[in-house]
């Protein structure tokens, strides 16, 4: 009886473990695995919203042109993609595009100018509400911001297309740089339903890669598109995006060789990753920054009456500058970021070499100067209690920040200590991100800590223009008429040199106004397996041009 039981147990164990002993097919050495922390929700280029979605959909669907980062000049270069050449007319009000004739959609249908016209049409259609809806500012639009096709496009032949821009506008290549979609697939779906039609649509693509498999919440497997003009026969055979929600698991798997590339590496891990002989770490100056928002205006009065009344605590540029002097940004940079960052002075990142003003010197940590500046504005320690007050009112406020970000949590504790040391009664409170951002966009805070990323090309008007009704992102209530004038000038400026000068002037004005305390630019750090050749990290991310990757044999 006993031996019978034993047999059954042994048999069960064999059934379970035997198959697992016979290891599966040999490791596919030409495959590259990239870690992403959550599954993408859409690969339809009309609706991709976040970084990973954008990256993957741009590998699947080609654009008319592509951009690349020129490290020397610190700006973008435009290169051909679906358009093999182009010609701007004299006043840059129209562009003639010569399209490639060798591009085919993955179902065998040829790519033509009709796909391009259709894409502009569908991206700008109010019924579709694509991610780009409302952003075609340089085109002829109807009252619902839909591009007027007749006025805009002249299809000379299937591979030659003229685009006429709105009179007086200054278009750039960015106006035509987005993934083109296949007309023959998309036009069969009711436009109102496009947003929910992903499941019914076959991903018919023409980019450097095609979608092989999408295993929800597990992995997305791309294969090089052999028909693509960018196809590299010696390149990688598969690009896999593996969904690993836990950062530490990503690092473990990178070290183990299960993953080849992890982005957004924390400074703490750099040392141990560099010790691993199989891995390489690339650090790059970033365009993301953290800041402390001081509401320049009184939020309650603005939200009830729409009147701009200077904030009682932070309405004064001298007070804001004093607060910047009081915060030891270097300590945060050193302790938390291990110096993988740079103190920020204004809203233009140092990577934009031509537009960045190098003449400005950051306000270094100087508590005494902070106290003096505050005293000059009436904030003094009158009762010798160590606490600052003015007209009988104490300098006291709460600094809000979103939860789930260890860097901001660390920074909040340093900022609290720094400001308390000069007599300011500051409390810090973290909030669940959705709640925090809702309140931030509703301008409910007096002081908060958050971050922005500077878009490429630089866009300051969306964030700093003083007309608050039209500029919902100017959540600090910053208003400076001179900055407005310069922002308007940049928008209508053809010469990049003059634009760059205007950006510098804006930084000088803002340096004086100190609308917020810019904390630091955060380096963009990636770690990857050395077996990947041609890996590079640019402000556009390491996946840009990943079709050039190959594997060291």
């Amino acid at each position: 009886m006993r031996s019978k039981k034993l047999y059954i147990i042994v048999l069960l164990l064999i059934i379970i473990f035997l198959p697992s002993c016979q290891q599966q097919s040999p490791l596919n050495s030409n495959r590259v695995v990239v870690a992403i922390s959550s599954d993408v929700q859409s690969l339809n280029p009309l609706f991709v919203m976040n970084y990973d979605e954008g990256n993957i959909s741009e590998l699947l669907y080609a654009s008319l042109v592509q951009h690349d980062w020129d490290f020397q000049k610190g700006e973008m270069d435009t290169e051909p993609m679906l358009a093999k050449s182009w010609e701007w007319n004299k006043d840059s009000s129209s562009i003639t595009l010569n399209l490639r004739k060798d591009v085919k959609w993955s179902d065998g249908k040829p790519f033509t100018a009709n796909d391009v016209v259709f894409s502009f049409d569908v991206y700008s259609d109010p019924q579709v509400q694509s991610r780009l809806y409302g952003t075609f500012k340089h085109f002829y639009l109807d009252s619902a911001s839909h591009i007027i096709l007749k006025k805009t496009f002249i299809v000379e032949n299937p591979y030659k297309l003229v685009i006429n821009f709105k009179k007086g506008s200054i278009p750039t290549f960015y106006d035509i740089d987005f993934p083109i979609v296949p007309r023959h697939i998309f036009e069969s779906i009711d436009r109102k339903n496009l947003i929910t039609a992903e499941k019914e649509m076959k991903p018919v693509t023409d980019g450097p890669f095609s979608l092989a498999e999408w295993d929800r919440n597990q992995s997305i497997i791309l294969k090089p598109n052999k028909q693509s003009f960018s196809y590299n026969p010696n390149g990688i055979s598969e690009l896999i995006f593996k969904i690993v929600p836990d950062y530490n698991s990503q690092i473990n798997q990178l070290k183990k060789g299960e993953i080849d590339l992890v982005q957004d590496i924390k400074a703490d891990d750099i040392h141990s990753l560099k010790e691993n002989s199989k891995l390489d770490v690339l650090s790059l100056k970033g365009r993301d920054y953290d800041y402390i928002g001081w509401n320049n205006i009184d939020p309650k009065i603005y939200n009830t009456t729409r009147k701009l009344v200077p904030n009682k605590l932070f309405g004064d540029p001298i007070v804001r500058s004093a607060l910047t002097y009081a915060i030891n940004r270097n300590e945060i940079l050193k302790e938390f970021l291990d110096n993988h960052g740079e103190i920020a002075i204004g809203p233009v990142a140092p990577i934009f070499k031509n537009a960045y003003d190098t003449s400005l010197i950051f306000r270094s940590y100087n508590p005494q100067k902070a106290k003096d500046l505050l005293a000059s504005r009436g904030w003094k320690d009158i009762n010798n209690t160590g606490k600052l007050s003015k007209n009988g009112k104490e300098f006291s406020f709460t600094l809000y920040y979103p939860s789930g970000n260890p860097r901001r949590k660390f920074a909040a504790s340093i900022i609290q200590n720094n400001l308390r040391a000069i007599g300011i009664n500051i409390k810090t409170e973290k909030m669940e991100p959705e709640v925090f951002f809702q309140k931030m966009y509703n301008r409910e805070f007096d002081a908060w800590m958050a971050g922005w990323s500077v878009p490429i090309p630089i866009d300051l008007k969306t964030y700093w223009y003083s007309n608050l009704d039209d500029t919902p992102m100017n959540i600090y209530g910053y208003n400076d008429k001179n900055v407005d004038l310069l922002l308007d000038k940049i928008e209508n400026e053809k010469s990049t040199v003059r634009s760059d000068n205007n950006y510098k002037k804006i930084q000088q004005l803002m340096y004086h106004d100190e609308p917020v305390t810019f904390l630091y630019w955060i380096d963009n750090i990636i770690a990857y397996n050395k077996r990947i050749k041609n890996m590079s990290n640019s402000p556009l991310g390491p996946l840009h041009h990943c079709w050039d990757w190959s594997i060291k044999k």
Binding site: G134, T196, K199, I221, K242, S249, P433, D470, P472
Partner: protein, 328 residues
């Protein structure tokens, strides 16, 4: 007798439906009054307020709450939970992608918990306070006091990093589709062993403790002494009398435990990157995906109610048998 049972069951089902209805109604209003908006991330910063208000309007969240509730209920009765804001496909479709994994994973873990717990308890009570009993008791306490995320990470460290026997994450390999049936089974097995240990360890110990104490209690009852006096063998007494008596109070615990497992096994899912209901629900809450939160709650709530109902029915059946046995 049978009629009475059917009546009770129908009563229970009706009250369960009411509970479920109240639950999602409560959730519907709670989600809408709680702070945070689902549409902020869909509004591009460059959009003018006029255009962004069009985007916000498309979520249909600006109509009065009673109207929203009315259309929600009408859709619900027709089996339509709406469209997930983040996935942009019907909620049911989203859940379909995640539920099978959770069901299978939980059931396997449940079987492991119950059978190993039971086995350990039987070994333990063979000689109460003996060497095996005290060893199992003490080690089980040790493992029970370690949180599952620590166990998971340790298992990965040992079996995946050091020994390199099992993969550290995911449900299957990238080459899964090219495998034979046996290969596929093997692939699942190797991927599932560490998550199953992580998830089941706590449950095994709960069942073990509960069963062991019950068994000891029943062994000390006078009717067992009586049977022994009549010369029945120890094996017969254990099988026919002690085990059925000890199991019956366990069944309600079993129902609750299985329900909890269906609710999603968040920590295990995150550590091992598995596509389960736990991660889906939490992400839906964090991104304020109202229809998806309600859909997940409804499905999980239904499963919990069904398992509890089933546990109660089984208990009633067992009790009846015991009753008859005693009468005879």
């Amino acid at each position: 007798m049978n009629k009475e049972i059917t009546k009770t069951i129908i009563k229970r089902i009706l009250s369960s439906i009411l509970v479920l209805f109240l639950l999602i109604t409560f959730l519907f209003f709670l989600l809408r009054v709680s702070p945070g908006t689902p549409y902020q991330k869909f509004v591009s910063p460059e959009l003018s307020p006029k255009l962004s208000s069009i985007v916000k309007k498309s979520f249909n969240l600006d109509s009065p709450l009673p109207n929203q509730y009315k259309s929600f209920i009408i859709n619900l009765v027709q089996g339509d939970f709406g469209i997930s804001y983040t996935y942009r496909i019907p909620v049911i479709e989203v859940i379909k992608n995640y539920l099978p994994f959770t069901l299978i994973f939980s059931l396997i873990s449940f079987v492991i918990q119950l059978s190993l717990g039971f086995l350990l308890a039987l070994i333990s009570v063979k000689k109460i306070n003996g060497f095996l009993d005290s060893t199992i008791s003490k080690t089980s306490l040790f493992f029970y006091s370690i949180p599952s995320f620590v166990i998971g990470v340790f298992l990965i460290l040992i079996f995946s990093d050091w020994l390199n026997i099992f993969p550290s994450s995911g449900l299957n390999s990238f080459d899964f589709n090219s495998y034979t049936l046996l290969g596929k089974l093997a692939d699942y097995t190797t991927h599932m062993i560490l998550p199953l240990i992580t998830l089941s360890l706590g449950g095994i110990i709960i069942f073990y403790k509960y069963l062991r104490d019950n068994l000891v209690e029943v062994y000390n009852k006078s009717f067992v002494e009586n049977l022994r006096m009549h010369g029945f063998s120890e094996k017969y007494i254990t099988r026919k009398h002690v085990i059925p008596n000890a199991i019956s109070p366990l069944i309600s615990v079993v129902g609750v435990e299985l329900g909890l497992l269906f609710g999603g096994t968040l920590i295990t899912e995150v550590i091992f990157s598995l596509p389960g209901m736990g991660r889906l629900t939490v992400n839906a809450i964090l991104s304020r995906d109202y229809p998806l939160v309600i859909g997940c709650t409804f499905v999980v709530g239904t499963l919990i109610i069904i398992t509890n109902l089933a546990a109660d029915i089984i208990k009633a059946k067992l009790d009846k048998r015991l009753l008859k046995g005693i009468l005879n």
